[in-house]
């Protein structure tokens, strides 16, 4: 399955949807209610949301898959010129696949494939910030074999190893003093590792609590390739070749609470701390340096950021569940380090979703998420480039699940 999926996933354009370049769309059910899912079980997707809950599945085998369609635009009004420009981002289609298998009453095994980080921003070749970024495509596919263990009827733990396939491609105009159409293309891919661990506890029949930690993953590109397009006279000064760079995917700690108000209504709230402060700088270390091509240090100085979520699920009938949610996702970026490469302001997400059950085994899910990227006036001071940014995204998600 891995072999089949990887090449397919590798070409999927993803989109920056949360603070930084985090993409929180790991389950259509959860997305429909504010992307909540740390403290209550909604099927095989618990492999991602809280691995401890895999054993809560009533079935021997559960599988769940889904895809999102992201339509997003970022607007920039140049602080100097007043001219507004808009991204032309491709439709992003991140998706997920989860499977869980109950080995015994206490032990469950699972596999998750998901894409919690990614970004695809296309500003264009000739926009006013072309020397910072023309377009970026960043994706990280996580493949996570997972185990969970029920310590008691109320307490359970789980953990998985995340094998991360990360890749990035960046195009930017090169600000050389000779020649107008100089560009740099940087791309690379690598494999890195992390983990996802959780604990889940039923305080009472109605009240449960979950805690997860998804570790930081350092995506170290040692074999990146840089391709310069410059005037032939400058070719020796800008040699094509290898570069190395490290992009940290930050760790996230989430505490969630769920309360069953009635048999039909479940409400939940969560808080996440995303440890973005690990993203201090994006440095490109070129294998061959020249007097024109020195290693490039680009401060990011992100700060840790919080995400707060609330949501509810209403079981309308045997056939249908309805969901709604809201979240506030804080930007990790300081005002003087706000770069159009990952231009994320504080985001407000409004969600709705539904699930349908067809027979005992089969179900489908749908969600819609509207994200307001709040208006923000910031600059990337190291490059002397700033203005006002705002974004809007509409993400529709569909999912299928099957259990037996």
């Amino acid at each position: 399955m891995k072999k089949l999926l990887l090449p397919l996933l590798g070409i999927i354009p993803l989109l920056s949807l949360a603070g930084g370049f985090q993409v929180n769309l790991q389950g259509t059910k959860q997305t429909g209610m504010g992307h909540l899912g740390t403290s209550f079980h909604l099927g095989a997707s618990s492999t991602y949301f809280n691995p401890a809950m895999m054993g809560l599945d009533e079935n021997k085998f559960s599988v769940e898959a889904g895809v999102n369609f992201i339509s997003s635009s970022i607007q920039f009004r140049n602080g100097n010129t007043g001219v507004s420009e808009m991204t032309d981002n491709p439709i992003g289609t991140p998706f997920y696949l989860y499977a869980t298998y109950k080995v015994s009453e206490k032990l469950s095994a699972g596999l998750a494939v998901y894409t919690p980080f990614g970004s695809s921003v296309v500003w264009g070749d000739d926009w006013s910030g072309k020397y910072l970024i023309q377009d970026i495509s960043l994706s990280a596919i996580f493949i996570q074999p997972t185990l969970s263990y029920n310590i008691s009827d109320k307490l359970r733990v789980g953990a998985g190893l995340a094998i991360v396939q990360g890749q990035v491609e960046i195009n930017r105009a090169l600000p050389v003093p000779i020649g107008n159409d100089a560009t740099a293309n940087l791309q690379g891919s690598t494999t890195a590792f992390g983990f996802n661990a959780g604990i889940h506890y039923d305080v009472s029949e109605k009240f449960s609590v979950g805690l997860t930690h998804r570790s930081k993953v350092d995506v170290e590109l040692d074999e990146g390739e840089v391709d310069f397009t410059v005037d032939p006279a400058l070719a020796a000064a800008f040699p094509d070749g290898r570069f190395s760079a490290t992009l940290p995917l930050p760790g996230t700690t989430t505490l969630g609470l769920a309360y069953k108000v009635s048999d039909k209504l479940l409400i939940s709230a969560e808080g996440s701390l995303v440890q973005w402060s690990d993203y201090e700088s994006l440095d490109f270390d070129f294998e061959t340096n020249t007097s024109s091509l020195t290693d490039s240090e680009n401060p990011r100085n992100y700060e840790d950021a919080y995400i707060f979520r609330v949501g509810a699920q209403y079981s309308y009938s045997e056939m249908f569940d309805f969901r709604a949610g809201f979240y506030y996702d804080q930007s990790p970026i300081q005002d003087e380090f706000f770069n159009p490469e990952t231009p994320n302001s504080d985001n407000i997400g409004i969600t709705a979703g539904l699930s349908g059950h067809i027979g005992e085994r089969f179900g489908f899910d749908a969600s819609i998420l509207y994200i307001i990227g709040t208006e923000r006036e910031s600059e990337y001071a190291p490059s002397g480039f700033g203005g006002t940014y705002a974004s809007r995204s509409v993400i529709t998600g569909v999912g299928l699940n099957y259990s037996f």
């Binding site: 369609f69 010129t81 600000p175 003093p177 490059s383």
Partner: protein, 474 residues
């Protein structure tokens, strides 16, 4: 079934996402009236680049860039005496060394070998000097022009009758309405509501670029400058016009004076050869001291000594005591802080023994005394410019501070880093004196900032990165 149909619609909904809608930036001219803007000045106002005035340079001239932005807050027409045809394309540089009627084209960057056969980008004339007949034809009847920038103009030329004649300044003669019109009269024919005045650079630049005293160009005295500058502002403001005024950058922070190294590294063997060659000169100086003990300090300063490692070059200095009667040339080694001009022939330094076996002529060299003359004149002019501007409530641009920033820390804007390094710094054109197109765009933004601050205006600035860089000519 119904639900399934709805599901098909979900991806479609995503395609029609609402877009963000940031309000338009506020645009206003504040208390200033830009209806009729006139720019008065020298080559920096005319659009001079790479040793010549070309149509491309004029289209990207400082006042034209500013006028394009002013036009976004209120309708402003801005006309320039743009040079047409072949001369406009090749550019017009005037030199007393060329035959009458012949002009030099703009410098271009070409790949060329140096004397060591190392090929690299080097500034060269874009074409052979050529007949500038088309340039010399008067366009004065098409005036008045809003850009009264005249390459070479000093403060004293603003009100000089005859400067508009071919004997005065051919650049001005070309667009003056008659040969007796002065620059200020040409400006006032626009009945300006707003003006920009940037003048004074040439009052010290000619002296500087020609190597100081040896060049035969003089520095305008600060008191004369004060009178003339104040009188020019009196004229420009007499009908109530508002305006913007810029001060004079320290000419020694431009690549023309900072590019050519003032010394070189040599080996012990080379030092031994040179010291042997200069032994008769040093001995001759000692002989003069033998006759006149008071000459000892000058003899010490004049003696030429080379050692393995870094050494400064040998230059001609005509301010030294003339000892030609003793068969001794007026030469010495360059002192710390002194500068060589960009025009010092590079191949003569590299391969012709200039600076080591042969002394570099004084017209390529600025002595510390000459540099002191230059900086005290600039400081004097700048005091006057600032006080005249502020006392009249005009917008003021500290171009001197900006150029200092460029030559020390550098300027980063729109993701581009600029420095005052020749060619690779990006801010200067190929003559090492005048800004590049992007350099002019940076200054235009500074002018706009000053206008915005003084007149409570909101004039949008330009995106420096959208202006062209130098290209290699092939």
């Amino acid at each position: 079934m119904k639900t399934r149909n709805l599901l098909y619609l979900l991806p479609l909904a995503a395609l029609t996402a609402c877009e963000p809608d940031i309000d338009e930036m506020e645009r206003s001219g504040g208390s200033a009236d830009f209806t009729r803007m006139v720019a008065v000045g020298n080559s920096l106002t005319a659009g001079f680049q790479s040793n010549a005035l070309s149509a491309e340079g004029q289209v990207n001239s400082l006042p034209q860039i500013i006028a394009n932005q002013l036009n976004q807050v209120s309708p402003t027409t801005f006309t320039q005496p743009v040079i047409p045809g072949e001369v406009g394309m090749k550019g017009v540089g005037l030199s007393p060394l060329l035959p009458r009627g012949t002009v030099a084209p703009a410098l271009v960057l070409r790949l060329a070998p140096n004397c060591n056969n190392v090929v690299g980008p080097a500034p060269q004339l874009g074409f052979a000097p050529y007949s500038g007949a088309e340039f010399f034809a008067s366009v004065g009847a098409n005036g008045p022009f809003n850009n009264v920038g005249v390459p070479g103009a000093r403060v004293g030329n603003l009100n000089q009758v005859g400067y508009g004649s071919i004997q005065g300044n051919p650049y001005f003669a070309r667009f003056a309405s008659n040969p007796r019109e002065t620059m200020l009269q040409a400006a006032m024919r626009n009945n300006p509501t707003f003006f920009q005045l940037w003048i004074g650079n040439n009052d010290v630049l000619g002296y500087s670029t020609s190597g100081g005293e040896e060049g035969g160009d003089n520095v305008t005295s600060v008191t004369v400058f004060a009178d003339l500058f104040g009188a020019a502002l009196d004229t420009l403001t007499k009908n109530g016009a508002e305006g913007v005024v810029a001060n004079i950058p320290d000419v020694t922070s431009i690549p023309y004076f900072t590019t050519v190294p003032t010394g070189t590294e040599i080996t012990q063997a080379q030092a031994d050869l040179l010291n042997a060659a200069y032994a008769p000169y040093n001995g001759g100086l000692d002989a003069v001291v033998g006759q006149n003990a008071a000459f000892q300090p000058e003899a010490d300063a004049r003696k030429i000594r080379f050692a393995a490692g870094a050494n400064t070059f040998v230059v001609v200095d005509l301010t030294l005591t003339d000892l030609s009667g003793n068969g001794l040339p007026s030469i010495r080694q360059i002192k710390s802080g002194e500068l060589l001009t960009l025009t010092t022939p590079g191949d003569s330094l590299r391969c012709g023994g200039w600076g080591t076996a042969k002394a570099i002529p004084g017209n390529f060299h600025l002595t510390n005394a000459e540099l002191a003359n230059i900086s005290s004149a600039i400081a004097g002019y700048n005091d006057i410019i600032r006080s005249e501007a502020t006392s009249r409530g005009l917008a003021f641009v500290d171009a001197n501070a900006r150029l200092k920033e460029l030559s020390t820390r550098g300027i980063t804007v729109d993701g581009i880093s600029f420095s005052s390094t020749f060619v690779s710094g990006g801010a200067f054109s190929l003559d090492g004196v005048h800004p590049s197109t992007r350099g002019y765009a940076i200054i235009a933004n500074d002018f706009i900032s000053a206008i915005n601050a003084t007149y409570g205006a909101s004039i949008p600035k330009v995106n420096v990165g959208s202006f062209e860089t130098i290209e290699i000519a092939r």
